[in-house]
Amino acid sequence: EDKVVQSPLSLVVHEGDTVTLNCSYEVTNFRSLLWYKQEKKAPTFLFMLTSSGIEKKSGRLSSILDKKELFSILNITATQTGDSAVYLCATPLYQGGSEKLVFGKGTKLTVNP
């Protein structure tokens, strides 16, 4: 069965801490892994990873994929209260001529001042 598992499910840290969020996956014909940040409304796209070992970086956020061990991590350094959100990872599953995203349940990150 195709699935995406995220850990931890929730995390509480203080401003300035560094956090690592985990995402493991099992999917037929893997092509990419995506990270999203969801605050109160729409998930916003962060990264799409297709190749192992190549880090993607945007400001204090970075992510890397390990296709051998079937996981990805999302790192956030020097966390701020604005980083508080649910972080979702997902991988596309292709069937019937189209694709759907299979999502994990998310990691709820709370950054306290």
Binding site: K41, A42, M48, K105, G106
Partner: protein
């Protein structure tokens, strides 16, 4: 640039009433369109997707239906809502130029059934 609009933002409906949620995309043509539901404490579940006008694929059996009357319009409907239909409904789009493109989400509709 591309934008996606969903409305209404929140909706409170009695059991047994009909439903119509609308989603439109601007700034792109022939997008792939998706409806997801996010229940409390659970991940996003794909309900419907569409690769073109009139082409709808359903992921899970339910009392919801979807339609795509225009290229950039996607509608989620129900004739009679159930309590279990409560949740956060998200519309998303992705480009049609091959797969492996990220999906981009609207702001969602929070639906409460009383």
């Amino acid at each position: 640039s591309q934008t996606i609009h969903q409305w209404p933002a929140t909706l409170v409906q009695p059991v047994g009433s009909p439903l119509s949620l609308e989603c439109t995309v601007e700034g792109t043509s022939n997008p792939n369109l998706y409806w997801y539901r996010q229940a409390a404490g659970r991940g996003l579940q794909l309900l419907f997707y569409s690769v073109g006008i009139g082409q709808i694929s359903s992921e899970v059996p339910q009392n919801l239906s979807a339609s795509r009357p225009q290229d950039r319009q996607f509608i989620l409907s129900s004739k009679k809502l159930l309590l279990s239909d409560s949740g956060f409904y998200l519309c998303a789009w992705s480009g049609d130029s091959g797969f492996n493109q990220p999906q981009h989400f609207g702001d969602g509709t929070r639906l409460s059934i009383l």
